[in-house]
Symmetry: C2
Subunit: 186 residues, 2 copies
C-alpha cells in the first residue's frame, strides 16, 4: 500500500502543508514519486510519521525529533526530561501571567470564571470538610518535609505571591522542628 501526501496527512491527523514542511526541513521523505510527479509514501513512511506525531504530542521541537529519529546515539531520555523541565517553566510563567491579570482585574468573580483555585477558596474548602487549623499546619509541615519542591509547586498553583510562599515554607519547616523536639521531650 502507498499513500499520496494528502492521504497520509489525513491518516495521521495533520495537514498536507505540515507534511510538506517536514519534507522541506529533511524530517520526512516520500519513498518515491509516481509518473505524474505525485509523492508516494510507503508503509514505512507512515510508521515514521506516526512516531513523529507521538513526539509532537509532547511538544518536542521538530529539530529534537529529527535528532531522536536519525541519530540513534542521541539520548532520548535526557531530551524528554529536559522538555519536561522546560514545560514546568512555561507553566510557571503562564501562572505568573494569570496572577498579573487577576491583580489587574481585582475582581473576586474572575476567580470562578477562570477555574482558578485561590488560597482563600482552598482554605474554606478544607474547613468545610472539618479540617482544623492544627490539621492544616501539620499538613504543610509534612508536605514541606516529604516533598519540598512539590510543596512550592502547589503553593504556586494556588497563585500565592512569591514572598508569601517563602514565609509559608519557612514557617512549615519551623513547625516540623517544634514537632520533633516536642516528641523528643515527651
Amino acid at each position: 500500500v502507498t499513500y499520496t501526501a494528502g492521504q497520509l496527512a489525513k491518516r495521521c491527523g495533520l495537514s498536507r502543508t505540515a507534511l510538506l514542511y517536514y519534507e522541506s526541513i529533511g524530517l520526512m521523505k516520500a519513498a518515491g514519486r509516481s509518473s505524474n510527479n505525485y509523492r508516494r509514501y510507503s508503509e514505512k513512511d507512515r510508521q515514521r510519521l506516526e512516531q513523529i506525531c507521538r513526539y509532537r504530542e509532547s511538544g518536542l521541537s521538530l529539530e529534537d525529533i529529527k535528532g531522536m529519529l536519525d541519530r540513534p546515539s542521541t539520548d532520548g531520555r535526557s531530551i524528554l526530561e529536559r522538555r519536561l523541565a522546560a514545560l514546568n517553566e512555561e507553566i510557571r510563567k503562564l501562572r505568573d501571567h494569570q496572577r498579573s491579570i487577576l491583580s489587574l482585574l481585582r475582581n473576586p468573580a474572575a476567580f470562578r470564571k477562570a477555574g482558578i483555585m485561590s488560597k482563600d477558596a482552598w482554605v474554606a474548602l478544607l474547613r468545610n470538610c472539618g479540617f482544623s487549623d492544627a490539621d492544616m499546619s501539620r499538613w504543610h509541615a509534612e508536605f514541606e518535609r516529604s516533598a519540598p519542591a512539590e510543596h512550592q509547586h502547589f503553593l504556586e498553583y494556588l497563585c500565592i505571591p512569591e514572598g508569601e510562599i517563602r514565609s509559608i515554607r519557612a514557617w512549615s519547616r519551623k513547625q516540623l522542628a517544634n514537632d520533633t523536639s516536642e516528641r523528643a521531650a515527651g
Copy 2:
C-alpha cells in the same frame, strides 16, 4: 526630563530593539528628535511604556494592548478575561504534553525530577498526615459540590488522565447524594 531610546528601554526593563519594534507597529512614538536625530522620549512616553509593560506581564498581545491604550471605548475587562481563559487552555495543553512525556518515559523517578505532584504522592502525603479514606472521600465530595470547575482543575494538576477524572467526579457526586439522604434518614 527626557530619555534616549536606550535609556528609556533600560529604565523599563526591556531591550532597545523591543522599544523600536513598538514604534514600528505604532504602539510607541517618541515625543520628538534631538538635533543629531536621536529619539527623545518624554515623561509621558515613559508612563505609557510602563503601562505597556504592565499589560505585557499578563501576556497580552501587543495588538490588544494597542487597542486598550488607544481606544478608550474597548472593554479592557473582557479582554483580560478572555486572556485568562486562553491561559487556562494553554496550561491545559502543556499539561497534556507533560502527561505524554511521562508515558514515554514510564519512569517514576521522572516525577520527582520534574517537580510534578502525582496522584500517588498526593494520597501518600495526606495519609502520612493522618487523613483517613473517609476524610478524603468527604473532601472530594465537598470539593465537587462547592467548586466543580476547580475540582476538575485540581485533578488535572495531579496529571490524572481524563477518563479517571471523570469517574472520580461522578463518584464524588454520588457520595454527596448518599451523604444527604443518610442525613435526611437519620
